[in-house]
Symmetry: C2
Subunit: 470 residues, 2 copies
């Protein structure tokens, strides 16, 4: 064991070498040190530099994960979990080196309890795979961050996405977790009961902890029956403000929209070109309604009336599954659609969330900032929750361009915080948002987070250098 | 400050006397040492003995609470928060003496943000008071544990009740908390944004922590628009099993019932007598539907069809507000209605929750146990969540009767745990359920809870002797 006062810095080469030898002897072919594989397992999605681990272990069981954690704990070597590599704030980087635990081979669906509307899965299962598997049973898992992320990663970043306005985020849809903690023990956070008041909410503590408190090796998720009827709609608006006001009215009126997504006129133009759509190039809401046939029709009608009050509409409906799929594919392809806007640049997704009453202000001020700074950054948003992204085109090789991008992102976060919002609605803290944690939470809350981190990971080996400095 | 290795036992008289002097000098008339007041502020609702604090402080502000905590921390004296005294597992007892902080005077509604569907309140606001205040604005707060509990207490026990099947529990409806922690600092757990991925979920950590990690002094709650249409129904069934099977089918079919409550035939009989109803004395579901006029009618029709498949019905509908109120008053008066069943005895409410697929089994086995043991214990349940209570009539002065009651309660919890359920769906751990924590959570999870408790309350002054032993 490391002494309790060990510094949270990179372990010496000797420690890593000793740990690697022990890991190879215990896990053999599951241990990979190839530089290409290591680089693929570090951050590849953003402006943050790629910081690979010293080795990658392809875990196949909870026991494998325990073996890795125990060996790493003995040598004081960091452990960084990896699911599908789709994270957006450098969560999978290894700034202090260490061992990346690839969980993608832990991809079994262990149980689907149809009567209880839940399932038990391993963390490497991706959301598309899960839904393909569930479809025959008339069930689905609604949380949809766009990317085909692993469920372990989605739990760890408290992911949400397009359906959250109706179905909540990962925090609302995880019933229980099995987690390997820093001492190599396995914690089961809850039973399969739908609710419980039996002590501290360990489930919610590990949801969104980004692997800094333990590695998730099993997940029990809530499921839902596939709605009898689904319809989607596209509704144009004269302004972002009109679209936002319609969203507020929709939520206030209790219309249970399943999805309500904003695309600004820049994004609509990009999507038209990329996905060969012919949408009016104006701020637009993409919507989806779930319910009975009559219920869906009623929701659509009520929404249409509200949109008209704010000068929006008419909405165009997509009732056929293939038209709906095309629409949502276009929404999910927002990231790809903007790449041609600045060839050679990287698309960096930002993420803030504000109380919905401030959404229009926040989006409008951000648009002005984009214009004033001469940036290219289309806006998309899960606006029913007050959450929006700008897809900022950055030449990450150009220091001036990168500095400007960082300045823009800081201003965006500061604007959201000043409006009573959060620095990240769904992408997580990782490395990218750590600098805003004190401004957002205040010193006492951040101290409480650090105390929890030290209590559960006293030697700071679990994904160190993310969320909170200890 | 106490040394870090101070024993978690009652502080010496001297410490209490010194703390009392300091408190009187700082808070004057807000400090009360009268024995009657002290007894009223300890457990009065169950078979657990009344264990009063040494004094009661009537806090009027966050600052008052900070003053109490800082003085108590300096002297190593326990601090026990008190809201309305409706808790059911001895949460408000002071087994090690100390200072009870009565928060009932902190009962201001600080803000109602209609556009954001949220409000900011002090912890002493009770749920009825909140809803009376919100009604004019067309809003309501749905969580309804029956008793007119304080919202601070409801947060602290992770309360739920009749509406949870549709609106979730307290964990789903708290956006943010202000909490005075063991060092006297004030932690704000989150912004008013609807969702966030910015670090550990401190909100959910304090929800259900029963005052053992800090004292809540401000609460931001989600609100909902009062539904356009509400209808209630009473539906008789030939058996508990038929009723439970109908509940499962209702949930699986995605009928968004707002309430679906089981009363067994013993409870229906008691309620008929107490509330002057003329219900058929057979297992019965009480239901409520929220939505548009058309939506509510459709839900009721779909429910009726499912009930008929299991031999239940016909449902009788209460569409007038006064009929609905009478029905739910009768449901909420279940506790009072059973008292005449055994004059002189105390009604002790039990609480377990199981996966819904095991609900019928668990209720049936429990009914057999009640019969075999010769007990009086009508059953009521928030069955949409798999949560049910038995209202056990106990002569708490008779050691044999009390022993039998405790044996029955242990068997009930063990049955629920064996079925993959929890020892408490909504009442909390307090003193009464501590003995089941290891069986429910396992040693590693309980060790994690203890580590968190030690990290945030190193001298164990915050409501010690509840949830987890440290």
């Amino acid at each position: 064991m490391l002494p309790a006062d060990a510094k949270p810095e990179a372990p010496s080469r000797n420690r890593v070498i000793s740990a690697t030898e022990e890991l190879k002897s215990a896990l053999d072919h599951k241990v990979v040190t190839n530089p290409t594989v290591r680089a693929q397992h570090a951050n590849v999605t953003t402006y943050l530099p790629n910081e690979p681990a010293d080795l990658v272990v392809f875990a196949e069981s909870t026991q494998d994960v325990q073996t890795v954690v125990r060996i790493c704990a003995r040598h004081g070597v960091p452990v960084i979990p990896w699911g599908a590599g789709t994270s957006l704030e450098g969560h999978v980087n290894a700034p202090r080196g260490g061992v990346c635990v690839d969980l993608s081979r832990m991809n079994r669906i262990l149980a689907v309890n149809t009567a209880d509307l839940d399932c038990v899965i391993e963390p490497g299962v991706t959301r598309k795979r899960l839904n393909e598997d569930l479809r025959d049973q008339g069930l689905f898992f609604p949380i949809d961050p766009g990317a085909d992320a692993s469920l372990g990663g989605m739990v760890s970043t408290r992911a949400s996405g397009t359906n959250a306005v109706r179905y909540g985020t990962m925090k609302d849809n995880v019933l229980s977790l099995k987690v390997v903690t820093a001492d190599g023990e396995v914690v089961t956070t809850a039973t399969r009961a739908r609710k419980s008041s039996a002590g501290y909410d360990l489930t919610r503590l590990f949801v969104g902890a980004e692997g800094t408190l333990g590695i998730i090796t099993e997940i029990t998720l809530k499921l839902y029956g596939i709605p009898e009827a689904i319809s989607a709609a596209v509704c144009p608006f004269p302004s972002v403000e009109a679209a936002c006001d319609t969203v507020i009215a929709t939520i206030q009126n209790g219309i249970p929209v399943a999805r309500i997504e904003l695309l600004d006129e820049v994004q609509v133009k990009a999507s038209n070109a990329y996905a060969k759509l012919d949408l009016q190039e104006t701020p637009t809401l993409f919507l989806e309604f779930h319910g009975t046939e009559a219920g869906v029709a009623e929701q659509a009608e009520r929404f249409g009336a509200l949109a008209a009050e704010f000068g929006g509409g008419p909405a165009a409906f997509a009732r056929h599954p293939e038209d709906r799929s095309r629409l949502w594919q276009a929404r999910h392809d927002a990231y790809w659609s903007v790449l041609p806007l600045r060839p050679g640049a990287k698309a960096v997704a930002t993420d803030v969330c504000v109380p919905i009453s401030r959404l229009a202000d926040c989006v409008m001020e951000t648009k002005r900032d984009i214009e004033d700074m001469g940036l290219i950054a289309p806006i998309v948003g899960h606006v029913g929750d007050g959450n929006f992204h700008t897809t900022l085109m950055v030449d990450v090789e150009d220091p001036d361009d990168l500095a400007k991008a960082k300045h823009y992102m800081s201003r965006l976060v500061e604007r959201a915080l000043a409006m009573g919002g959060t620095s990240t609605g769904e992408h997580g803290v990782g490395q990218g948002k750590m600098k805003y944690m004190e401004a957002e939470h205040g010193a006492p809350a951040l101290a409480a987070m650090a105390a929890i981190k030290r209590a559960l990971d006293p030697h700071n080996i679990m994904n160190p250098g993310k969320i909170v400095v200890v």
